[in-house]
């Protein structure tokens, strides 16, 4: 699906109109491009530069709440989507970032948003994205003896790389 630049600003159904226009204006100023919209939510493609500052402003000034961060392994690298909910305005902004395969790391937001600690650990475990600045990057969902460098949700994952030890050894 090719991203489309919005020409006319259509407010997604069910969302507070003024808030949405203000938010959209801020996002477009940061270089975001709206890909699609549905009832009470919209998906934006956001450039990597200045993303953390943008996120911080959305959460602190605009009153957003980071619901979670999801990720998927695509051909060009790893895509992370930050789902930011604006509960009072009834709107969810899904901010999509592409981390090119050669440089998949993203500055950690845990120092100023402690609730993101587990989210970033899980993404690191399963997709292999680094989060420099994370205070405690340990295994979360995978077992402690999981080998390094093997990421289950990556396209090239092979189960043979991560065989469990024999039943006597555990």
């Amino acid at each position: 699906m090719s991203p489309e630049t919005t020409t006319a600003v259509e407010v997604p159904a069910g969302t507070d109109r003024e808030f949405f226009l203000e938010l959209e204006e801020r996002l477009v100023r940061a270089g975001a491009v709206r890909e699609c919209a549905a009832r009470r939510q919209a998906m934006y493609r956001v450039p990597r530069e200045g993303f953390v500052a943008l996120l911080r402003e959305l959460i602190e000034t605009f009153g957003g709440r980071l619901a979670t961060v999801t990720g998927v392994d695509v051909r060009d690298g790893t895509e992370l989507i930050y789902h930011v909910c604006f509960d009072r305005a009834r709107f969810t902004a899904n901010l999509k970032i592409l981390l090119p395969g050669s440089a998949d790391q993203m500055e950690s937001i845990t120092p100023w948003l402690p609730g993101a600690e587990f989210i970033e650990r899980e993404i690191h475990d399963l997709l292999g994205v680094d989060f420099p600045g994370h205070p405690r990057m340990e295994r979360l969902v995978l077992s402690d003896d999981w080998p390094e460098g093997v990421y289950p949700l990556r396209r090239g994952f092979r189960k043979e790389d991560a065989r469990p030890p024999s039943v006597e050894e555990t």
Binding site: V141, L142, S143, D144, D145, W146, P152, F157, K159, A162, P164, V167, E168, T170
Partner: protein, 164 residues
């Protein structure tokens, strides 16, 4: 029938261990205690510590993280203690059999600690409470068949059993 076996049939303390289940089997196990099935009238009580348990009800595929812990749990129980694998996941890992997060099947893990452990299998996803009661009854029949309550096996408690 020895008096130990007879008292085990009359009073069974059960410890429930979830080693990676979706909680469906856990809900059905707790349902056994509700007025609909009321297993307390058979003397079956849910206890809070594995040391008090006569039966270990294991639910869930044994995930890689849970495997050493399940072994410690079994070693911690006071023998004679039987193991009841509840649900398809505990039997042979069900649909998760080849997953990257699963360890070995529950009965392999238990047998690596104690090759002579008595293990009952209750299939279902989740099993009906009647099936679980039938599983316990079969354990009693098996114990009677063996003719004796199992004495303490030659299993040394692991060094890691102390808590720091």
């Amino acid at each position: 029938m020895s008096w130990r076996l007879w008292t085990l049939r009359k009073s069974l303390f059960v410890y429930h261990a979830n080693v990676g289940a979706c909680n469906n089997c856990d809900i059905e196990i707790v349902e056994l205690l509700t007025p609909a099935y009321d297993v307390e009238r058979f003397g079956i009580v849910l206890v809070g510590s594995p040391r008090h348990a006569d039966a270990l009800l294991v639910t869930g595929v044994c995930t890689r993280q849970a495997e050493p812990r399940l072994k410690e749990l079994y070693r911690a129980t006071a023998k004679p203690c039987v193991v009841v694998c509840v649900g398809s996941c505990a039997l042979a890992q069900g649909v998760f059999a080849d997953g990257y997060h699963v360890g070995h099947p529950v009965d392999e893990v238990i047998r690596s600690v104690d090759p002579e452990a008595i293990i009952a299998y209750v299939p279902g996803c989740p099993p009906k409470p009647e099936a679980m009661i039938l599983g316990v009854v079969k354990v009693w029949q098996k114990l009677a068949e063996l003719g004796r309550a199992r004495p303490a096996p030659a299993v040394q408690p692991a060094v890691g059993v102390s808590t720091t």
